[in-house]
Symmetry: D4
Subunit: 168 residues, 8 copies
């Protein structure tokens, strides 16, 4: 694989069931990435080092998924100039804590937050960001959107055909 | 001014008191932008056209601020391949409606959401996105962060000097 | 079946398990309807066309069910003059996001919102709207309410008879 | 004035500052209406009588605004076959109580709920409902939407002309 | 059984699994009661009649359980001078809608609200109310509290004895 | 004044601006009461003693108002057999903390909770409780409700007369 | 076992499945503790006595877990000068009631609140408090943190090795 | 002043209006402290260094106040073995974001959270922690509680004397 452009981090390996979707999307788009477990609270030194080194290692975008008092995305954003995408992971308070502690960053340090458990959208956003300077990738994303529309339309056709009672 | 790279939209001109901050930041960074009022609900055709034309007009990032059932960012994201940054504007329910209707997008159509009334951070995120392919801008953003740190440290010094009773 | 008076739309085919109830009610009342999958975000062009054509195609009421950042009802309302009924579908945040993003519409573009997963009530509301100019339908709805009251009273009678310990 | 088609009720005269907007809109559209104070809890007999008599008095739509444990719309809906539009009025809990107690009606008895303090949209929804059998009114509503779009576009033009710094 | 002093009502027979607890407590205390299904929205006339007749039928307290837009307790309170105890039943929004629509009554019409699904406490509160003029019942309630304390202390003793690892 | 039947307690003298309403209502109904400041947390011994002595001192009902982690009503209820009415006082979290910590009592120890800042309703509920064994008081309460209805109807008459534009 | 330094209390034995974690941690650190069931509402006298005697019995820290209207930690804090750590236990409202009624204490009576169901963290916090005057314990806690970091890093190594598709 | 035992940090100098109360309390108890502005996001290196050095500099307790996505307390806790007390500062979402992002820490890294804007209680908790190994300080805290009780009782006496109508 090429030198990774996107780094996917998660606060705990229990988040992998969600964050796996981000990896799949990047693979599908042929975007080189790396994926690791790194906790803002339990391995703060590694989180610090990861963020500080990210630019020189050639990363372009960081995706960080965490739950509860989800500080990972914010902590990484504090130490890097790269865009950081935050994925609030569902917690024992339904994800509202993850969501607010990812999104409500102070002026100066943005985190690009996607929906709760939105790892797939985080990866698509990373693709869109990279595509701002990569026309081929932009083209791929446009195709992806068309395919998605077709899939919805195919369901509409099926519903029309089989009727709402039999549709499964 | 050069051809705009960033488009700032807001659902109502009453949002300008918040969204103005985005314009100021882009100006400070020398990033060409345009700014307009465009409602997903009251001017849906213009919103549609804006999003469809955005790529060919040379825009790289769209920033959309809206309140209440804040559909603007999502509607634009539906029609464009560019990254769309959503700013939830405080509403008559404290902004929780704006926040959730901006952020909880379905799989396939991400919106990069910043905090409630976070127009400044939206612009900084746009800068970070553009900086992924513009080293000079990346350098400027790094400097911006240093200046910000210095400002905080200056306040710490002042607090140490004058004491917590007299600090104002 | 006659030319449809009510259009039932849903953002995803996974919403059908909820929206099916709307179809059943309309069938029960003999109101002609159509039902389809149409996403505000993934098939925005079709949503746009559906709303723009609705009046000339003879529709009188539109029912739209969606979850999360539920923009479907609002987007349709933006493009049509027909009354649009929104059904907030339960999401990964318990439906509070669906509810607020359906209901908190800006002045000028109302959406008639029913309760979370309230597809049945959406259809009954459509019946009530059509009944404002259709006395037979109004009569049917009055009968429906009487039947409903009788069903509750039958339960009360049964509870009285078998006692609270054995009632099932 | 003609025989009223729309009845506007509010639980307390303190709600008039919000509900007044509904009256203004109906007046603007030339729709005959009546407006009164009627509490589900303090004048339950009058509320009961109002709802029971509504159809025979020729009303077509009822708009009910209330705050807190906002039962007015639901209580009226229980006693009439007419469509009832509920306006949740902001309360000492920010309106979230009004909203939920208006919207979360049980299967069988819908209330068409608009946004918090959304009296204007309640009236527009009433217009849309009446317009399902009144082409002239439908035409008026279509014109209203065009005027609204023009007003937004005029603001966009002004913003372009004076710039975001001077716009007021 | 004697003439009932307490009336237990619930909006739907699906609430019986919760409201049954109230009946059990009253039985345990030897307080005569009646229990029925009565919906504020689906059988409004019966709810109205029940409340209006309650005093002359010799009832002293009414307990009303309902979920969602839970209007039952409030509607009964509107039509009677008896104390009404409201039990918010868990709904598809976790009970927060039931809770707020039961509790946030306007000045003049109180509902004595207990916790979500708190049917047992509703019955105990009814006992306490009746006990304000019935010393024997007051004595029974005091004994009930002692028994309850003993049960907790027995658990504490058991935990001490078997240890936290084996306690089940 | 006679021996008090109702005790009004509040956690802080800053709550008096709300709790005063309870005193006024009891005075209006001629119900003897006492009113004091007593904190569950800052004067726990006095709270304890108050609750333990309440029955023998002849009290029949206790009203307790507190905000934030509002434990006062619950603590009193733990130590007495009298019905305890809780008034959640608005706090720096809009009263949602006061409300939940007053209402969500464990099985066995009910608190009769009224709405946020609902001191007036707390007193009316106390009147209703006392009236279960005092027909004269019951009569007074029935009159109170009639007067209340008349006041609403008078406002309706005024609104009809002066019109919604001039009503103030 | 030595004289206990930490007392673990819980409002109900059903809380033991959560509070057990606190006991395990203290055992792991070799900190003497005791654990009991004690309800603020059902055994208020024992709670009162426990808190009043705690200092003279040699306790240094109290941990209290409770759910719903969770008054236990606050009630103990009212009667002792020891630091009290509150563990909000998940309730039928998702723990938001437990959380707010534990944390929102009035000025003068703090409760050190940890996350919902955070019994493990409560014990670690007790260790940290004791370690402020016990260097050996401080050392143990530092080692604990290192072990924790190693465990996260081991997971990161495993993820790197087996890849995100096979990691379990 | 002696070597500080307590460090008070806040994320922004705008938090000083709240955090000042912590300083006042420590001063009143004669506990040496230091106070500074230090942002987890804008000055992450200084926050890191502060936490890492805290033990060797002789600090015993850290108090950290921050609002919004309030990561300061958690970030400090990640890097130190000292107990960290978190003060959630009211934000543009009423403090619910500050509260959850301070309190919902992952297993292993506790933050002792006090109420929203609870700087005074944070300082009192620090006193209680220090007092676990300082009997004089424990005695002072016991006296503080007595004084507090007296102040409440004095208000109760005044209320009794002047009556609820004239009390101010």
């Amino acid at each position: 694989m090429n030198k990774p452009l996107v780094g996917i981090l998660m606060g705990s390996d229990s988040d992998l069931k969600v964050m796996r979707e981000a990896a799949k999307v990047l693979e599908e788009f042929g975007v080189a990435f790396e994926i690791t477990v790194c906790s803002a609270h339990r391995t703060p030194d590694r989180a610090h080092k990861y963020a500080v080194d990210a630019v020189k290692r050639g990363l372009k975008v960081i995706i960080a998924g965490a739950g509860g008092a989800a500080h990972l995305a914010g902590v990484l954003a504090a130490f890097t100039t790269l865009p950081v995408i935050g994925v609030p992971i569902k917690s024992n308070l339904d994800g509202i804590d993850s969501l607010l502690s990812t999104m409500q960053m102070p002026p100066g340090i943005p985190v690009a937050t996607v929906g709760v458990d939105g790892a797939k959208n985080a990866a698509l956003l990373a693709v869109q960001i990279l595509a701002t300077s990569d026309n081929k990738l932009m083209k791929k994303f446009a195709d992806y959107k068309k395919t998605m529309a077709k899939a919805v339309n195919a369901k509409a056709d099926k519903l029309k055909k089989v009727g709402y009672k039999k549709y499964q």
